[in-house]
């Protein structure tokens, strides 16, 4: 079975990027590269919409399968080229389409080494799309690691501050996490009885996936260890306290569009991995199941949420502030995962659905927040909060959309953040009331740091010793139409999901039910 749509969607950005990088010539080549690259992301976005809309919710299961069994034609390596989407991955594919397009538009003003910049940016999109649609563990790993190279280059070459340090830190943390994942994959590989690397079962192809096989297998390596290997890899990427320290550095020093991609979709690879692998594989394994540690996960999540929130309040750099808030908000994803409870009977699907939705909403909201910081920084050339103030008079559009991102982030009803967080709280409270109560405090903190920042930067009076001179302040301009395209692209889903959540929650529910089965 080879549908082809997913393969085309995944490799389109990379193919265009390589061709453009090789063949764009002449004095006007930078402009050509910009247009063609942005065009490629727009086409990719359209394809992801086709995938999302084309997924038949009545049928469910894995759809749009690209299956090539003899990808590695060796019986011993039970790996195949297997792409497909289900309810869990389809919304995330759409999210990647939206953010990829937004990031390309937001890179309009890049002047330095344009050819390489767009090459890496588009390769990054290919890698992330590949992670979400791969249903073979080895293929998943290939894409998961592939993302490192473009990300490293983008931060190290086009970053500000201490870009090389931050890029290296990012790579080392992620590589270490990836090494754990590889060991986890090997541990599954050497297990007798698990004769596949397929992450799901696909009855129509005769594929029985790891979740079913591993439940019956006598594991060589204890299940708790394998769970731990995968969990560490995803915890680094999510990121969770105490392995989060790469994130603020990477975000602060990365260019705007890369921050958007990092917060928007790269962190979601970890959340997706937790749901697909840690939840999907370890529900009925012998000797250990995810239910045994759900309580600890809830505690870890609560610590991450509250710790992230408290640290965030202390930040004075706008980008760093949003970066730390990501630690807090991604903690909610783990909290939602903990709703799996200490036994199958206790499992709350509302909490798990909330975790999935939180990934989607956090992607758009934080993506928008980074975009607005970028737009503001392009004009004022500072992100230091005490130096700023009264900017709304000069740039009302930027202020308004910044406010929308802020409200989304603190969970204002009618915006998507509210829906996700209320689902997580309701779902997980029934299972882990104490941990959930503590984590709920994170929302209060979020209201605090978000409103405080927006108030000081945009609505307060200018400070007595402003960081920007009067001349610069007087000449500040608002966002123009090119800037607004990605802003609208990210703001629209925040409202749509906020008002009409079932457009994605129905989809996620199908996926979560399948993972739980």
């Amino acid at each position: 079975m080879f549908d082809g749509l997913l393969t085309i969607t995944v490799f389109l950005p990379a193919a265009v990027a390589i061709l453009v990088a090789l063949f764009a010539r002449g004095t006007n080549s930078d402009q050509q590269i910009r247009w063609i690259s942005i065009g490629a992301t727009v086409v990719t976005f359209v394809l992801t919409v086709v995938i999302f809309v084309g997924y038949d919710q009545d049928v469910g299961g894995i759809q749009m399968i690209d299956y090539f069994e003899r990808w590695i034609p060796i019986d011993a390596l039970r790996s195949s080229y297997l792409l497909g989407v289900d309810g869990l991955s389809a919304p995330l594919v759409l999210l990647t389409g939206i953010l990829g397009m937004a990031a390309a538009f937001a890179s309009w003003r890049i002047k330095k080494r344009v050819r390489e910049y767009f090459l890496w940016l588009l390769l990054l999109q290919t890698a992330v799309l590949g992670v979400f649609v791969s249903l073979d563990l080895l293929l998943f790993f290939v894409f998961f690691e592939f993302e490192l190279i473009p990300m490293f280059m983008l931060i190290a070459i086009w970053g500000s501050g201490r870009p090389r340090y931050s890029a290296m830190k990012f790579v080392l943390f992620t590589l270490a996490g990836g090494a754990f994942m590889l060991v986890g994959i090997l541990a599954i590989y050497v297990t007798p009885g698990v004769n596949t690397l397929a992450m799901v079962s696909i009855p129509e192809l005769g594929i029985t996936g790891i979740p079913e096989l591993i439940a019956a297998a006598d594991l060589v390596v204890p299940a708790a260890l394998i769970f731990g290997f995968f969990f560490i890899a995803f915890a680094v990427k999510l990121p969770l306290f105490p392995v989060h320290s790469w994130l603020p550095d990477a975000h602060t020093d990365a260019p705007t569009a890369v921050s958007v991609m990092l917060a928007g979709v790269l962190l979601k690879m970890a959340g997706y991995g937790l749901l697909r692998i840690n939840l999907g594989f370890f529900q009925e394994t012998k000797g250990f199941t995810i239910h045994d540690v759900a309580g600890y996960l809830a505690i870890l999540a609560a610590v991450s949420v509250v710790y992230g929130g408290i640290i965030t309040i202390r930040q004075t750099d706008m980008k760093r502030l949003i970066a730390y808030s990501s630690v807090s908000h991604m903690g909610f994803v783990l909290l939602g995962l903990a709703a799996v409870g200490s036994s199958a009977a206790e499992t709350s699907t509302a909490g798990l659905n909330g975790a999935a939705l939180q990934m989607f909403t956090h992607g758009t909201i934080t993506g928008l927040a980074f975009l607005m910081v970028g737009l503001s920084y392009d004009r004022t050339h500072t992100r230091h909060i005490p130096h700023l103030g009264g900017l709304w008079k000069k740039m009302p559009l930027i202020a308004i959309f910044f406010l929308i991102a802020g409200f989304g982030s603190l969970g204002l009803p009618a915006l998507s953040g509210f829906v996700a967080e209320i689902m997580i709280f309701l779902g997980t409270f029934s299972v882990w009331p104490w941990a959930t109560s503590v984590a709920a405090f994170g929302v209060v903190l979020a209201a605090g740091y978000t409103l405080w920042m927006v108030q000081r930067v945009f609505f307060g009076e200018r400070p007595a010793t402003p960081g920007i001179s009067d001349e610069v302040y007087d000449n500040l301009t608002d966002a123009n139409w090119v800037d607004m395209i990605p802003v609208i692209a990210l703001a629209a889903p925040i409202f749509i999901v906020g008002i009409w959540p079932s457009v994605v929650t129905d989809m996620f529910d199908i996926g979560i039910q399948a993972v739980l089965k």
Binding site: L77, V142, A156, Y189
Partner: protein, 501 residues
């Protein structure tokens, strides 16, 4: 010779004739570009003849034996002949500029024809099924390389040539000694007959390989070829020769010579010593060699400051990874049915490595011929000065390092996976640890290329031929990583010919 003999040997005959044509063309023209073009275009003839043998285009698919069963044009040898011809084409493209340079233009024709002669030897080597033929082919392979290494007649070049010659002679002598033992023990030089005789000869319990004569013979054979494969402890010549010899020669040596040596070792081991009990014994030998070679190669590479020497040690380490595949034999299988893929892994790794290493060497040639600086610092900021060349080089280094999604990653997955299936989990673990060690020095070079500030800001591009060769090699390294089946299917077909499998 019969018609059959001519058909079977046609690629080698065409290759030898091409070498003569090239040297004659050199007599009538002073233009090295013409010499290189004749060689490059002329390669089409052996390529077509090889394809003919694989597919049987011109009537009867002439796959079969020749010269009284000493040469066999089976798919195993054809697979390697393709690889060798591809490497040769790349080498000629990459040397086009080099042979036209002032110091070389008097010997350009000789340079190209020596390369072609050496490849003729390698093509014979991969299809030889008899010990004396193997030996003769091996000498034909080695002697032109001696001349090539010393072609500059500089102190370094002559030293490299002499070193290669002496060590090559010693290793040949050891090899011949090993051949003599096995001949004395079994009374035959034909690999298949040796296998049959070894099966019926009495064995001593407790002695590896069943008898001390066979043990000695295997050790000497492995030692003799160990030199060609650049395996520790026969690796000392590698860094010196790579540094002293012209870089195109080093590129050629690092890929072609290694591939041919691994091919013939596979054939000897799986044919002559292909019984399960023997296989388990030599698997252990190769496993130890693999562990030592990977570790020593990577450790010594850590402290190198010359890019050519660093690449020399890196090729040693890569030979170690390939040995892991060689050690993963069917006889050690975990289950009842062999699921491992050691032999396919070796062939896949060799082909993938050939593309990767050529991309790296060719870009290094293009860059250093411009900067005249072999140190790693000489590569500083190269991404700014020559983005395309530097990009290909970084990609190649990432593939050597084994970063997804390059062929380097996938090949390591295949060989380490086979090792686990062949009960050699410890070896796979050592391999993975070595990959991490290697990351340090590959990343060091990448850092210089990408992040350091260039010593001078002048930008430059490479000549079309070498750029094309490096580009094609890099594309191969990418495509074969994303689509491993392209090579592995061929390897599987090729291996169905070997009697041991």
């Amino acid at each position: 010779m019969t018609v059959q003999d001519f058909w079977v040997l046609s690629p080698e005959i065409a290759m030898a004739l091409l070498a003569l044509v090239v040297i004659s063309v050199d007599l009538v023209t002073r233009s090295m570009a013409k010499v290189a073009s004749v060689a490059f275009v002329g390669l089409a003839v052996p390529v077509i003849l090889t394809l003919n043998l694989w597919f049987g285009w011109f009537g009867d698919p002439a796959v079969g034996q020749a010269l009284f069963g000493t040469i066999e044009a089976d798919r195993f040898s054809l697979f390697f002949k393709f690889l060798l011809l591809t490497v040769t084409a790349g080498t000629i493209l990459a040397s086009a500029k080099y042979i036209a340079s002032d110091k070389m233009k008097d010997y350009g024709g000789e340079f190209v024809s020596l390369v072609l002669l050496s490849v003729t030897g390698m093509m014979l080597l991969v299809s030889a099924t008899e010990l004396i033929t193997i030996y003769v082919a091996l000498e034909l392979t080695a002697l032109p390389v001696v001349a090539l290494a010393a072609i500059h007649r500089t102190k370094q070049g002559v030293e490299a040539g002499t070193k290669f010659f002496v060590l090559s002679a010693i290793s040949s002598a050891i090899l011949l000694y090993g051949f003599a033992y096995i001949y004395g023990y079994t009374g035959s030089t034909n690999l298949e007959v040796i296998m049959e005789r070894l099966a019926v000869l009495p064995t001593d319990a407790g002695v590896p390989f069943g008898s001390y004569a066979v043990l000695l013979s295997v050790i000497m054979i492995v030692a003799g070829f160990g030199f060609k494969m650049a395996v520790v402890p026969w690796q000392m010549w590698v860094p010196d020769v790579y540094e002293g010899a012209p870089t195109p020669v080093a590129a050629f040596l690092s890929v072609a010579s290694k591939a041919a040596a691994f091919a013939v070792v596979m054939r000897i081991m799986y044919t002559a010593f292909g019984h399960d009990a023997l296989m388990q014994d030599w698997s252990g030998l190769f496993a130890i060699l693999a562990a030592v070679t990977m570790t020593v190669g990577n450790t010594l590479a850590l402290s190198q400051s010359n890019i050519k020497r660093l690449l020399g040690y890196s090729t040693i380490a890569q030979a170690g990874y390939i040995l892991v595949g060689l050690a993963s034999v069917p006889a050690n299988q975990v289950g009842a049915v062999f699921e491992g893929a050691g032999p396919q892994g070796v062939m896949y790794y060799l082909a993938g490595y050939a593309f990767t290493n050529l991309a790296v060497f060719f870009t290094v040639i293009a860059i250093t011929s411009r900067t005249n600086d072999d140190s790693i610092e000489g590569l500083n900021g190269m991404l700014k000065r020559s983005p395309l060349l530097a990009g290909i080089l970084v990609f190649g280094l990432l593939s050597l390092l084994g970063m997804p999604p390059t062929v380097g990653f996938m090949a390591k997955v295949v060989v380490f996976g086979s090792a686990i299936n062949a009960n050699l989990t410890w070896l796979a673990v050592i391999g993975v640890v070595n990959t991490v060690i290697a990351a340090y020095y590959y990343l060091r070079v990448i850092r210089a290329i990408v992040f350091e500030d260039p010593a001078d800001d002048s930008t430059f591009s490479a000549d079309k031929p070498i750029l094309a060769a490096a580009g094609v090699a890099a594309i191969g390294a990418g495509v074969f990583g994303l689509a491993p089946f392209l090579l592995l299917e061929l390897a599987e077909q090729a291996l169905s010919i070997i009697p041991g499998l």
